[in-house]
Amino acid sequence: MAVAVPREGQRRAERLERIWKESSGLLGWLTTVDHKRIGILYFFTSLFFFAAGGVEALLIRTQLIAPNQSTLDPATFNEMMSTHGTTMIFFFVVPMSLGAFGNYLLPLMIGARDMAFPRLNALSYWIFLCAGTFLYVGVFTGNAPNAGWFNYVPLASRTYSPGPGIDFYALSLIFIGISTTAGAINAIVTILKLRAPGMSLNRMPLFCFAFLAVSFALVFALPALTTALVLLELQRMLGFHFYDVVFGGNTLLWQNLFWIFGHPEVYIIILPAFGIATSIIPTFVRRRMVAFPLVALAEILVAFLGFGVWAHHMFAVGLANSTAIYFAAASLVIVIPSGIQLFAWITTILTGTPRFQTPLLWIIGFIIVFILGGLSGITFAAIPFDQQLTDTYYVVAHFHYVIFGAAVFPLIGGIYYWFPKVSGRMYHEGWGKASFWFTFVGMNVTFFPMHILGLAGMPRRDYTYPPDMGWSALNLIETIGSYLLAVGLLSVFVNLAISLFRGERVGNDPWGGDTLEWSTSSPPPEYNYAVIPTVSSPYAMWDREDRERDAELLEQGRKTLEEGHETAASTAVDAEWDEVLDMPSHSPWPPLLALAMAGLFTFVLLERWIAAAIFIGVMLAVLAAWHGGEPQEA
């Protein structure tokens, strides 16, 4: 929909262009505070970690292709298995969803010009990059973590894991936790304060509800993980005894702390996927979501209830029955909000007029695998059954259906959906569909047989298995499936890489999309919107009068905030016009602060305390310089 911008509006747009311009070239990328560029940096960095985690997965599957193989020795197998989980969860899914999708799309969807704290946003990215690099320095120097991604003590103590692999794990997770916390707070403030006037909470897109819920969950869940990790490092490095029973510590303290974080984390991983599904479905079925308020409520409830179910990861540790029964009940309750969302999606698709293009295909695939993963999840709330099947391949099947199928499929659907917005070009539809079918089939061939293997008693995390257990054929099928899956995922990114240069150019809104981002150009200008948009429903892009009014306002020079680097702030609930915010511009300090922090973490790892202290000094100096150069409040 190319609307000819009249002359006056053109002049204002050019003025905004000058105000919001950042440095060009590499320096521009290093010093950027533009949420879209930071989103793109997050995208490529987390994609790199996705590839790394994928290679690790293929190595694991290759080792298990047949019984008694020695492609990987047990030590390497354990390292690959631990690094795969850690990478996928902490360095791929969360940065990809919150970092790439959240950063790029949240301000656009709510009609803002940037995130609430642009420099903090840049800092979050650079910390993420440094923390990921930190972990992989460990991997490439032969010091990968090897006690599994949930790293139970005492296996993870110095006595049983003497090398620095566990320290790389613990410190990199403390490090990236800073990034994630900052990112989550940024998202919360952005969503609550920077919505375009008129976008009261009940008119906020469901995507934003999901990200709001995730961000709150992160802020409350991460401290438990950070605490667990700090206690672990105090024990490993300085001889404290938090987890050491010989000195009155408690082994299960780690498990409790880890899963108090770890179960909310599951919903943190999957809620953005729900948000993406609720964006894609209305566009492609050409109708609003059924039961909008219920879905919004369900998204918030899932994040909230996720905090009350952690001990269902620990049913085999010998809990009192009364404790186990409570956690089983809570785990069943959380099925309800998930069920509401599921049937809201299905009913919306059923009552709409769906066009089965690539993004919707990924969402349908997501719905199917999510139902399977959800159903197998329910079986863990039957405590005696859980105690039979926990720590077998049945669990591995379940959480790959949920975390790979249900969380990553929508991410890929979302990548296809917003690719034209970000790149200004269209991907190849035929290859898009083919990539879906390869991945969908590959995913099911890889992970479905794992249910059966678990029911046949194969424990997870075994580096090999005997030939006489009847597990060989299914393992072979799974490994073939994983190769097919790799081909499917590769075809996604090859399609997009080629389309980036050769794809057909698109206008603002190739899909008839439902939310505001489709009203601006593809790719959007630095300032996102020349006029702070008018909003009167959650499907702002379908309110034609509002969009025409934006064009008029631009012509009249109203709500254009062209006096400086500015965006509008509104009240948290009703989104009434509150004030005009002066936004900071590009800055070299965020990457420098992240580097100084990397120095600190490196010397803590090496247990060089004086050098570590020096880097704390460097961090303080960088912070001082950062704030010294800050424009004063008017």
Partner: protein
């Protein structure tokens, strides 16, 4: 060969759990097929807006979400909760220690299982004998990291956790050999930490227990076996293993007092034959890389003598 499948139950508890699984599978199958049917319907009716029968009616849409998203799940999940967590959980609970005829203490080690019979002082490894059709109280501990004791055909698993004592009931409906396996990741050789449970008629079990309570054979060893005993005691073997009635009193590795009476070695990794025993002691690291048992490099002659000695320890 015994299986490790929870769906091959050989005890009332395991039967109940397997039955629960089949019912859950049926219910889940109905939900899954129903949802897929709705998606197929959406594909068929892709050009027609609204619901079949109800047409374009937002209240009907919301009612559908409320019915399938809330009402049906509440009923089904409540039923599951009551059956699984109120009825079945207490039915399959470990019985009080004084209600069982026998207690076996199982200790998880990296990477083998120690089994003690406190009433008779018997100490063995990786092969647990129990009387059939008898409720056995298994008390589990850990010597190092967390392991999980799991004999799926007989009952659910239970973690062995440092500083904690957990219990699980073993009951076998019929005589047989049941396989078990460590289920909690415990390091390099987690994959080779299996065990066997032998359920025997009560008389056979008594005979086994009496025989295991005897000290190791010392008299009448053949020439090579006597030599092997000397090598065993002179070298690091005796520092890690116990052979009762000798000066070997180590506790790092399995008790070898009656090693020759066992069917397997290295935690159910190899069949217990002289050839395998030789392979194992001569280079354990090639069979279980990273295992705590070192290859001592004593040379073929001494290893053969030690195998001859161990083969006499029935």
């Amino acid at each position: 060969m015994p299986t490790l499948s929870p769906l091959d139950p050989k005890s009332p508890d395991a039967h109940d759990i397997a039955t629960l699984w089949w019912w859950m599978l049926v219910a889940a199958g109905i939900v899954f097929l129903g949802a897929v049917a709705l998606l197929v319907l959406a594909r068929v009716r892709r050009d027609e807006p609204g619901l079949p029968l109800f047409g374009e009616n937002e209240r009907a849409n919301t009612a559908l979400v409320l019915a399938f998203g809330i009402a049906v799940p509440v009923v089904v999940l409540s039923a599951l909760f009551v059956i699984a967590n109120l009825v079945l959980l207490s039915d399959t609970d470990a019985p009080a220690a004084d209600e069982t005829a026998l207690t076996v203490e199982v200790v998880g080690h990296q990477w083998w299982w120690e089994a003690n019979y406190p009433e008779s002082g018997v100490r063995t490894a990786n092969e647990i004998h129990i009387p059939d059709r008898t409720s056995v109280n298994v008390v589990v501990h850990s010597a190092d990291v967390i392991h999980s004791f799991w004999v799926p055909e007989l009952n659910r698993k239970i973690d062995t956790i440092p500083g904690r004592t957990n219990r699980v009931e073993l009951y076998a409906e019929e005589p047989g050999v049941y396989r078990g396996q460590c289920a909690e990741f415990c390091g390099l050789q987690h994959a080779h930490m299996a065990l066997r449970v032998y359920a025997e008629p009560a008389a056979d079990f008594r005979r086994w227990l009496t025989q295991q309570a005897e000290p190791a054979r010392t008299a009448g060893l053949g020439g090579e076996a006597a030599l092997g005993k000397r090598y065993f005691m002179e070298n690091a073997c005796a520092g890690c293993h116990t052979i009762s009635g000798t000066q070997a009193e180590g506790t790092i590795g399995p008790d070898l007092t009656h090693i020759a009476s066992r069917d397997t070695i290295a935690a159910d990794t190899l069949e217990n034959t002289p050839a395998n025993l030789y392979r194992w002691i001569q280079n354990p690291q090639s069979i279980k890389p990273g295992d705590k048992m070192p290859g001592l490099g004593l040379g073929a002659r001494k290893f053969h003598a030690i195998v001859a000695y161990l083969s006499e320890l029935r």
